[in-house]
Amino acid sequence: MTKADIIEAVYEQIGFSKKEAAEVVELVFETMKDTLADGEKIKISGFGNFVVRPKRARTGRNPQTGEQITISARRVLTFKPSQVLKDSLNEG
């Protein structure tokens, strides 16, 4: 599934034109990206939470060469699926 399939679902579900459906779907994802870029988390009930977490610098290893490297401090995005979503994948 790609964004085009989601736009199609929105188009079929709501009386929007294809253009409107595409613009509004785009707007939803842009709004989510802006929010996460600000470090704010997003909670979608029934789906899951998107959370930005700080990670401290740590030492790692290049798995190919075994060489020790420093992994810099960073902020990463994690997704925690809701129990409802997890359960729905294991029904039947």
Partner: protein
């Protein structure tokens, strides 16, 4: 930000969009994504990230209270991988994986 705050922000950004329609769009997006994952489909949203279903094998676990061994059945779990654009943006514009 909750789902209803997302709906409000989307409705506010477009004058021609009622709150009701914004809500319908947001619900349709996540419902269709959920259905895709239930069908084992992979989802790719350019610039945002991708979702896929991973299989976890059955394994032996332990009841942490009693120490008793219990069998944990195999299961399917949703997995999200952040896209390059968003990975950079949450990290203040710098891609932590590029050097």
């Amino acid at each position: 930000m909750t789902k209803s705050e997302l709906v409000a922000a989307v409705a506010e950004a477009r004058e021609d969009l009622t709150r009701k329609h914004a809500e319908l769009v947001v619900n349709t997006i996540f419902d269709s994504m959920k259905e895709a994952l239930q069908g084992g489909d992979r989802i790719e949203i350019r610039g945002f990230g991708s979702f896929q279903v991973r299989e976890r094998a059955s394994r032996m676990g332990r009841n942490p209270k009693t120490g008793e061994a219990v069998a944990i059945a195999e299961k399917r779990v949703p997995f999200f991988k952040v896209g390059k654009e968003l990975r950079e943006r949450v990290n203040g514009g710098v891609d932590p994986e590029g050097s």
